[in-house]
């Protein structure tokens, strides 16, 4: 019989904790809580603890109009029993607060922590895997740009826009910086922590000339790079905005129809993200809401297509050293020469579908149970040049910049096009606006016939069952033989 846990638990209730950092100092209380959970009869218990410092700044027309720091801390406890899971989240990180959350999660399974002199499971956690030691992460906070200096960067960029861009009606520059401290502990022994610095910068303009309007935005972002704001190339950003907004201001509305299309690199990768990526997450497989659920090993795409979901692309917006279940990040080959090779899987995905875990368990914050999600997802480069692709089309559309999109469980997807041009006789000609690309996942993958050699990535935000997360989409320029474009 082990009374140590009982006595310790009683002591722990009365100790006030140092909430400054997660680490070894949390071992004892988490081992006891996990022991309580196992003693109740749960198959698996996991604690996810989070502290987040976030600030967001907006500069509009030369003035800082919004500056909002937020301080969030919370924990989530997940309990599995016979493949059914429960999840309880709380803002109370005291021992009693976490125990209350655990009791609530166990209660959902009609499990209770035994009292009195019953034998307790001794849950022993592995040595702490501390990913903050990589890349000198503990110096992130001191090295990253301060609130005040970030505000100056935004003011400077906004001022440049106002100086350079014609017919400018409205200019917004925004930024955020987020420092997330996470700790994962599970009844299988996982004990891992990480510190994540994510930063993003966005510049938007609205131009107007009489009744003509154009609105263009550019976004940059990365992780684990304290020098991000200091190394921004403001002149290049403003130059891109100037060119795009100028072109699109007088663009004609696109005529709806079927067209061959060349999609640009970087954010053009959202086509793969929406048309295919979500449908290769076990989140969709376990709900039977993917047309690819039983297609592993089958040809699902054109043979020119190879695609990856990369856990650790250097400074990629979706990069993680470990996922939100404490599993080390990895590179996952999704499709190779058109053949479906792997799905993206987390713990629940493995339990429910049998597909091995790929370090893809992600969540927006402690309020959500982890789910299999994308990280840095891209189509691999091919042998062609961008010009090869453009010159192969008599009449079509060049989609230079895409907006957001979505996919539903039938595989039907859509995404908006922010900046498009007509292709005529193998050359890029006049600008076009108002396009939305629509199609279905199974057929579009087979129509990607050419891939260029210029792979590049772009930051994005992805919303799904475990909230909004930071991701990267990427691809080289690609040619889609035929796609439906909605327009006027």
């Amino acid at each position: 019989m082990d009374f140590k846990s009982l006595h310790k638990a009683a002591e722990l209730q009365n100790i006030s904790y140092d909430f400054e950092s997660f680490g070894e100092n949390w071992r004892e209380r988490l081992e006891i809580l996990l022991g309580f959970g196992r003693a109740s009869g749960a198959d698996f218990i996991e604690f996810f603890l989070e502290k987040k410092k976030h600030y967001a700044i907006a500069c509009e027309n030369g003035e800082i109009t919004s500056l909002e720091p937020s301080l969030i801390c919370g924990a989530g406890v997940r309990v599995f029993k016979n493949k059914i899971d429960s999840y309880v989240s709380t803002n109370d990180l005291s021992f009693l607060g976490l125990k209350k959350a655990l009791v609530s999660a166990l209660d959902i399974h009609k499990l209770t922590i035994p009292h009195g002199s019953n034998l307790f499971f001794n849950c022993v956690l592995e040595p702490l895997r501390d990913y903050t030691l990589n890349c000198n992460k503990i110096s992130f906070e001191s090295q990253a740009l301060s609130l005040k200096d970030t505000a100056h960067v935004l003011l400077s960029c906004n001022s440049l826009k106002q100086k350079e861009i014609k017919h400018l009606k409205y200019a917004t520059t925004t930024a955020f910086q987020e420092l997330q401290d996470v700790l994962v502990a599970s009844s299988e022994g996982t004990f891992a922590k990480d510190l994540r610095l994510t930063q993003s910068f966005a510049a938007n303009v609205l131009c107007e000339d009489g009744s003509m309007r154009s609105s263009i935005g550019k976004r940059l972002g990365n992780t684990s790079d304290p020098m991000f704001f200091q190394t921004l190339d403001e002149e290049r950003i403003v130059s891109d905005l100037k060119e795009s907004s100028g072109q699109m201001l007088y663009a004609d509305y696109i005529k709806a129809g079927q067209y061959p299309v060349v999609l640009a690199n970087k954010f053009g990768g959202v086509i793969f993200h929406e048309a295919c990526g979500h449908l290769l997450e076990t989140t969709a497989i376990q709900r039977k809401s993917s047309p690819f659920l039983d297609k592993k090993g089958d040809v699902i795409a054109n043979e020119s297509l190879t695609a990856f979901d990369e856990g650790y692309w250097d400074k990629g917006f979706g990069s993680l050293a470990m996922d939100d279940e404490g599993m080390p990040s990895q590179r996952t080959l999704l499709i190779e020469n058109g053949v479906l090779k792997n799905f993206m899987s987390d713990r629940a995905g493995f339990e429910l579908t049998g597909h091995p875990r790929t370090g893809s368990g992600r969540r927006q914050n402690y309020k959500y149970a982890s789910a299999s999600r994308m990280r840095n997802t891209y189509i691999a480069p091919g042998p062609h040049s961008k010009d090869d692709l453009i010159s192969s089309i008599d009449k079509g559309v060049y989609c230079k910049e895409l907006g957001g999109g979505s996919v539903d469980p039938t595989g039907a997807f859509n995404f908006s096009v922010q900046e498009a041009y007509e292709i005529s006789n193998g050359r890029i000609t006049k600008p076009l606006k108002g396009a939305i690309l629509i199609g279905d996942a199974e057929s579009i993958l087979k129509k990607i016939s050419l891939c260029a050699n210029d792979l590049d990535i772009a930051p994005g935000f992805c919303g799904s069952v475990s909230g909004n997360i930071y991701v990267t989409v990427g691809q080289p320029h690609i040619k889609v033989d035929s796609i439906t474009i909605g327009g006027r």
């Binding site: 709380t90 409205y170 709806a256 957001g404 606006k433």
Partner: protein, 452 residues
Amino acid sequence: MFSKNENDIKNDFMHAARDLGIQKFDMFGILSLEESSSSKDGQPFNVNTRFKHLGVIRVWTSESHLGVVRTSDLSFEGFREALKIASEAAQVRQQKDIIEFSPESNENLKPIEHDNLKSQSASLQDLMEAVVEGEKSILTASDSFLSVPYNGVGQLHVRRFYLNSEGVYKKEDKTSSWSYFYPLAQKKNKKSRQSGEYEIAKSFSLPSVINCAKKSASKTLEHLDYKAIKTKNYKVILSSEAFLDLLDAFSNCYNAQSVLDKKSLFTEKHLDSLVASPLISFFDDPLSKHNVHIEQFDEEGTPTRLTKIIENGTLKSFLHSSFTARKMKKNVTGNTILASKLGISSHFLHVTRGQSPEKNYDVNALVDTVYIDDFHAMHAGVNALQGAFSLPFNGWLLNNGKRESIEGATVAGDFLKLLNDIIFVEKEEKVTPSGVCPNIWIKNLMVTGLSS
């Protein structure tokens, strides 16, 4: 129910502020408990309980500079840290405009007769059983159903409060329950289709959950026989849900902050002028008896009230925060979202007939008309700054009283033109989770078929 007592929160906050010598401050806070469950293959799935605290705090420096911070730590130590950071933010920002408490933050709340009914709470076990029952009712309704990939039943208990350094303190408690089912079905040799139903209510009720499930099932089955549609201009009827979604997507039109920022399609000069068909009126009605989420005060403590936005096609008012109301010399409307830059949001839109129509239309006499049930991908297909939209939808082709489900199409247009092209507003108004609205008929919109 909530892990923190709001009197303790109030006392800790005031104490922390005074401890730091901060004289002027306010806070909007939320304590909530949300319980929910989904179902998969007849078993509870993703069973969730969320205990949440959040405070949005504003502090003013002696130079009247404003700093804002959000925090989930509502303890004395948490407030001290948050207040310090807010003070730092105030020094960095040094905003030019003066921002004050709402002039009506100290107004008392009036009791609402139809909001005094006690809500019935369910246990989490009740929710789990209900959603499993709901999924089962769908899967047994027809062999065509493959699964119900998205479903859920839940309930939310919320305590909202506002307090400031002038001694104002107000709070309200709300409970609501919701259910949604989005089944996937397929007919042989055809593509799979998905439709769904989402409902909210003040109280949980098992029959309501089952009813929601059955509605989603019949809606999905109705779409199994579909046909492709030609790409061209069609007369279009927007369902209540579809039109309310568009109004929400283009809310910059009636958001006073967007007007000040020159991001709206309207300007102050448009007030009291005709901006839409005279057949339409709509107003924000936060205290409507149909509104499950009645909020008696906004996040600045301003009492909410009915605001006419468009009346018989004429723009009557924007929705205001205290800041925009002061700038435009108008009255506050109780629509503020508390943040570093005050946000504005409608509560519960009510769309209704404006002027009486010159003629009544018979839906059974319509030819080659598209009826839109609901839109998808609102986040991607709307350009609010330009007034343009291009959206996929679930819908029907109507011909002489018959209707055929449309396969994967999109509709595109200009929002301001759409408002002026309204040719008919039906009399019967439908209550939805986000508002009240009848079907709205539009002269024509461009529809693109998937295989055109």
